[in-house]
């Protein structure tokens, strides 16, 4: 699949059989998801390697949702044998026939049946052993997922993965009955395609020359009624603003009365009361006096110290960010123009013409940015970066355990989100208690003592949370597992594809009351 062919090659260099034949099986298989994350996301998935530690029902439910959309490789690291309880709650075991066999091997075999494009391995070493003898092996994965891991072992794993920012990100999952939480440990996560829901500016207040010229060239008054009712609102506003500025010393409407007056002038341009394009123009009139600038979230990224010195080693995101920063320091001090127009009242001809104006200008501005890019970067990446400039995101992560080590922050959260923090504390207490006394049955009192070590006061809702955890410690219900498997795989896909914004913090779920929250 050639990714970088230009439009002409794509449309003219085809043999008829290629152009008219049905799409390949892979495209058909992944049709519904390609419509969400496109070929770029799919390529990222297919080159990813996922390590899962502990082959629990939650782990296999998560893997199922990663194998189906087609990750490249997964390994299950688990030394244990299948118990009857496993056989009863884990769909990716062969029922009673699996009892006594290697859990990892049985699961890998059954998971692989889902998708023959995925590679899977079972590793029956223990995590202890791997960390002692071969920790770098773990660094070869893209993502590490750990479910209900012994808390000391988990700390060791998390510390190792945090020790180098090129190491994979870590998903920590803890669940017990209907309560669960997960946390993603990563240093930094840069997102170009955030699929932001805010639309980029149309720059009506700073109309580019081509648009301005076009708007000025139209004589609304001499148009016939049909034409008149199909002028796109963007053009109406640009023209109205230009006329306004001519009479107001070059300034847009500033005060409330001026703004009202401006809106009235638009309504008065109607030649029939039902001209919806003018109604649209009136409702969008604020775009004339809201100055288009660089959105604050993007401007914040420009403060990053890495932008001061770009070297061949600088990650592409920052190379491009530096170019973007420089672009925004020139006239008209905005992000590059987006070539996509929203739907609006218009006929096809006008809409297509307007789209062409935006497209041409956007290409020109992209050309300017390309000249500002000082290190070689793939053209497709530049295109995508420029197209999504208004939604760029750079998330900063924290190491696992930061929250529990910061009593003040935890106490603040407990005030604001008592139920969520209670659930988090109950799961934390269960984990440390079990690590210290692997053979003891946790009681409400014992866990309360553990929780007090983390946070002296117990938040509201503690009794419910600890009660749920004590009822069946670490119980891995098929239903909770399925729910968590969906939620977590979703976040794993976001991390791997670097598309959409992942959950940032401890995500706590209570499936008795069907709620989730993020601490």
């Amino acid at each position: 699949m050639k990714e970088s062919q230009d439009i002409e090659t794509a449309t003219t260099a085809l043999s008829p059989t290629n152009a008219t034949g049905p799409p390949d099986n892979k495209t058909r298989r992944y049709d519904r998801q390609l419509r969400l994350w496109a070929a770029s996301g799919q390529n990222a998935l297919e080159s990813s390697r996922v390590l899962v530690i502990n082959g629990t029902a939650t782990s296999t439910s998560t893997l199922k949702n990663l194998v189906l959309p087609g990750i490249g490789h997964f390994t299950i690291l688990d030394p244990s044998k299948v118990t009857p309880a496993d056989a009863g709650n884990n769909f990716f075991l062969n029922g009673p026939n699996s009892i006594g066999k290697s859990r990892a091997e049985e699961e890998v075999r059954l998971l692989l049946e889902l998708n023959d494009g995925v590679e899977g391995m079972a590793d029956t070493r223990s995590l202890d052993e791997v960390l002692d003898t071969d920790p770098e092996w773990i660094a070869g994965f893209t993502v590490v997922i750990a479910h209900n891991l012994d808390s000391k072992l988990l700390d060791r794993l998390a510390t190792f993965l945090w020790s180098d920012d090129s190491h994979p990100c870590l998903f920590v999952i803890r669940s017990s009955g209907f309560l669960a939480e997960f946390y993603i440990q990563y240093h930094e996560h840069a997102i170009i395609e955030s699929h932001s829901e805010t639309a980029p500016s149309l720059r009506i207040d700073k109309a580019f020359p081509g648009l301005l010229e076009y708007a000025k060239s139209l004589d609304f008054k001499s148009m016939d009624p049909t034409e008149h009712s199909h002028i796109p609102y963007v053009v109406i506003l640009v023209k109205a603003l230009e006329d306004w500025k001519a009479g107001h010393g070059g300034l847009p409407p500033q005060t409330y009365p001026e703004k009202q007056e401006f809106k009235k002038s638009i309504v008065s341009m109607k030649i029939k009361p039902d001209e919806e394009n003018f109604d649209e123009a009136e409702s969008q009139a604020y775009k004339c006096w809201t100055s288009t600038t660089v959105p604050s979230e993007v401007a914040e990224l420009f403060q990053d110290t890495r932008l001061t010195e770009i070297t061949p080693k600088t990650p592409h995101f920052f190379v491009l960010l530096a170019a973007l920063k420089e672009f925004t320091q020139q006239e008209p001090y905005t992000l590059p123009l987006s070539s996509t127009l929203p739907d609006m009242k218009s006929n096809t001809e006008n809409y297509v013409h307007l789209q062409k104006l935006y497209k041409t200008r956007a290409e020109e501005e992209k050309g300017v940015i390309k000249k500002l890019v000082v290190e070689p970067v793939d053209d497709d990446l530049v295109d995508s970066f420029v197209k999504n400039a208004h939604g760029l995101k750079l998330l900063k992560g924290k190491p696992w355990g930061t929250l529990n080590g910061d009593k003040e922050a935890l106490a603040n959260s407990a005030g604001a989100l008592p139920k969520q923090v209670s659930a988090h504390l109950a799961l934390s207490a269960l984990a440390t208690f079990h690590s210290d006394y692997p053979r003891a049955t946790p009681t409400v009192d014992a866990l309360t003592t553990e929780a007090t070590k983390i946070l002296p006061e117990r938040p509201e809702g503690w009794d419910d949370a600890v009660g749920e955890v004590v009822r069946a410690p670490f119980a891995d219900l098929p239903n909770t597992a399925a729910f968590l498997g969906g939620l977590i795989a979703q976040e794993v896909i976001k991390m791997i594809t670097k598309q959409y914004v992942p959950i940032n913090g401890y995500c706590v779920a209570d499936l008795v009351d069907s709620w989730t929250g993020v601490i």
Binding site: E3, I7, A10, T11, T12, A19, T20, P22, P23, T27, R28, Y30, D31, R32, Q33, L34, R35, W37, A39, K64, N65, L68, P69, G70, A85, G88, F91, G95, D116, G177, P200, L218, M223, T226, T340, L341, P342, M344, N347, E349, N350, L417, K419, Q420, A472, A475, P478, N479, A482, F483, G486, L487, Q490, Y500, V501, C507, D513, S514, G517, V518
Partner: protein, 672 residues
């Protein structure tokens, strides 16, 4: 930890609920994305009797999420394969798969009453509404669900306790006036709807007289001259239809039938329309296409001059080198989707734009393929997004029409999405939704109604789930506020009059009787009272609705069921329900006085106290619409909230608008 296989579930669910599950009878409607997940989990959770129903067969594009299916299962029944795969897992479970449509008459109210709970895993509005009504009639709890990409929703429903699915009207798909589709398209979607719903069925569908649609359009005041032309047009399809069905003329020598079809729709019909100069006074006229000229690369047509834009003369030929100059603009536009966040479409095979000649070749080859299928014995062929022949046909035909009308063309990939109402679907969202469905189901079985929640999965990193307390039924709902009753009868031997007087128990009051949207009788018109139900086409599985003319008593909905097999042949052919239904008295507030019953159903209630921090009351678009209060949920004179004709047309993707002056908005057909 116990060694028993259900130890986890036992510990968490408690012995009472856990022991109840093997006896519980579940109906699972749909074995698609959610259905597969759901089946796996209700088997694992310990439900003992599962009836699984789906009318569909497995397609390759299902395999990215419907994990009970493998490549080797493609084209098999979803219900059968899902049951086979899941049953192996729990030896104690009884799964009863049915390969059928839930709307078939044998699945009547009695049948629904045989279940303790119904779980919906459906993909269309029509079936959802049907199951909702059956569950309301049967008084069986229902958990409704749906997903679209990263978004999803789960809603528990029970008659008299919660809102039903129809308590809040659902947005109807976007519709287009018939003349826009048939003679004056201005957007690609118009051409796609034309190819899919009109041309394909004219050529390959049932040989039915399509004049009904035109009669209606005429009644609604659409241009009479235009309608007359469209009528003539329809007549001429007969010749093409017979050519397609005769072996010698279609496939043999380069597709005579395809050529004939082409000449008719892209040349003769367009010339006909052009002759009506009135139509083209204020809009750009279309260009008739020439088969041979396109094939030998000499076809040229004038791009219509847009306002303020100079028209461009450009040649379009099969080799495509003219694209580089003349139609460059169009090409660029094709690659910039109007939706800024649309997937980057580069690099995938069917995401490439075809040249005019490619489209024509595709048109010919797809017609030949479809004609061959007709001759091989298929009666009719209708659009299926996963049927490559029909998708190719719709792609090619809509693009050719777009060229004739100067509209931008679409790639096969885009056509598939627009024509097939494709909703992105992934395993992860389905898994989350299924987890929530089973939880709601367990709350139902435990009768802990207070724990039931309406849950939305959203794209907000800070609030992945929003759960909302349930609202009580909407007092104006035309579905769940009816008083339901069951009547077992033999429709061949029972008259309408007998049913009505029987159900009313001899009480004389003025009523009108409806079946769906049809009026069968009213106080001034009782001609049908002596006729049998069968002669009125009121049969098993249908409802008779008895509406009080004075509006003082609630509506009675009579569900028709079969007589028991041992019913003596010589006794009465109908068994009245006992006790007879007693509809509630309707409290009518005096018009000028302030409204007495608070209409709280139209607004979301304040969330449950202890949910404050995480509950987000964020009504989605359809809710906002409703809270305007201007949507009549049930006008007093009509018994049902949705006219059936409209519904039928919606299925075809082609719907008449309420008034011919309504103009569709830009954009594509909305999906449920």
């Amino acid at each position: 930890m116990s060694r028993h296989r259900t130890s986890h579930a036992l510990a968490i669910l408690g012995p009472e609920l856990h022991n109840k599950l093997p006896e519980t009878k579940v109906l699972l409607v749909g074995a698609g994305g959610i259905g597969c997940e759901l089946l796996k989990n209700i088997v694992l959770t310990g439900f003992g009797h599962i009836t699984l129903l789906d009318l569909d067969t497995i397609d390759l594009s299902n395999l990215n999420r419907q994990f009970l299916f493998r490549k080797k299962d493609v084209k098999q029944s979803k219900a059968m394969i899902a049951a086979q795969t899941a049953a192996g897992f729990n030896p104690n479970v009884h799964i009863h798969p049915i390969h059928a449509n839930i709307k078939e008459p044998q699945f009547d109210v009695r049948w629904f009453q045989g279940f303790d709970i119904v779980l919906n895993a459906l993909d269309n509005l029509d079936a959802r509404r049907h199951v909702n009504r059956m569950c309301m009639a049967a008084g069986v709890p229902l958990v409704e669900s749906g997903t679209a990409g990263y978004l999803g929703q789960v809603q528990p429903l029970l008659k008299n306790r919660t809102e039903c699915f129809d308590c809040l009207p659902k947005p109807t798909p976007k519709t287009f006036p018939v003349c826009t589709i048939r003679s004056t398209p201005s957007q690609a979607i118009h051409c796609i709807v034309w190819s899919k719903s009109y041309l394909l069925s004219q050529l390959f569908g049932e040989d039915e007289d399509s004049s009904g649609e035109l009669d209606d359009a005429e009644k609604q005041g659409e241009n009479a001259q235009e309608i007359a032309t469209l009528r003539k047009e329809a007549q001429a399809f007969k010749a093409v239809r017979s050519a397609l069905r005769s072996p010698q003329s279609s496939t043999s020598n380069g597709g005579d039938a395809a050529r004939m079809a082409f000449r008719k729709v892209f040349n003769a019909d367009i010339r006909n329309l052009l002759s009506m100069s009135d139509m083209w006074r204020s809009r750009a006229p279309p260009t008739p296409l020439d088969f041979d000229a396109i094939m030998d690369g000499t076809f040229s047509h004038k791009k219509t001059p847009a306002n303020g834009v100079n028209g461009k003369e450009h040649a379009v030929n099969g080799k495509g080198n003219a694209h580089a100059s003349g139609s460059k603009v169009a090409e660029e536009l094709l690659h910039s989707s109007p939706n800024g966040d649309a997937p980057n479409t580069k690099g995938l095979k069917d995401q490439q734009v075809l040249s005019l000649k490619d489209n024509l070749e595709l048109f010919t080859s797809s017609i030949n393929r479809l004609a061959t299928r007709l001759q091989a014995g298929e009666d009719t062929i209708s659009f299926d997004k996963d049927d490559d022949d029909t998708l190719d046909f719709v792609t090619a035909a809509s693009n050719l029409r777009s060229v004739a009308y100067g509209i931008e063309e679409k790639t096969r990939w885009e056509v598939k999405e627009m024509a097939g109402n494709i909703i992105p679907a992934i395993a992860t969202t389905n898994a989350i939704v299924l987890g929530l469905i089973v939880l709601q189901a367990l709350h139902f079985l435990r009768k802990s109604y207070k724990r039931l929640k309406n849950v939305h999965i959203q794209l907000k990193p800070s609030v992945p789930l929003s759960s909302i307390s349930l609202s009580p039924p909407n007092s104006l709902c035309g579905i769940c506020r009816d008083t339901y009753t069951i009547l077992a009868c033999d429709p061949e031997r029972t008259t309408l009059g007998e049913v009505v007087s029987g159900i009313l128990g001899g009480v004389e009051r003025d009523v009108s009787i409806y079946e769906d949207k049809r009026v069968l009788s009213d106080p001034d018109w009782d001609d049908n009272n002596e006729r049998t139900l069968a002669s009125l086409n009121v049969t098993k599985g249908k409802f008779l609705t008895i509406v009080d003319e004075d509006g003082e008593l609630g509506t009675i909905a009579v569900a028709l069921c079969e007589l028991p097999p041992n019913h003596p042949i010589d006794s009465l052919p109908c068994i009245l329900p006992s006790p007879l239904p007693s509809p509630p008295r309707i409290v009518k507030p005096p018009p000028p006085a302030p409204p007495t019953p608070p209409r709280q159903t139209l607004k979301r209630r304040v969330p449950h106290d202890d949910d404050d921090e995480i509950t987000e009351i964020e009504p989605n678009a359809k809710r906002v619409k409703i809270s305007n209060g201007n949507t009549k949920i049930r006008p007093a004179e009509t018994p049902l909230s949705s006219p059936s004709k409209r519904r039928k047309l919606e299925e075809d993707g082609l719907v008449l608008m309420e008034s011919a002056t309504d103009k569709p908005d830009d954009g594509v057909i909305e999906i449920d």
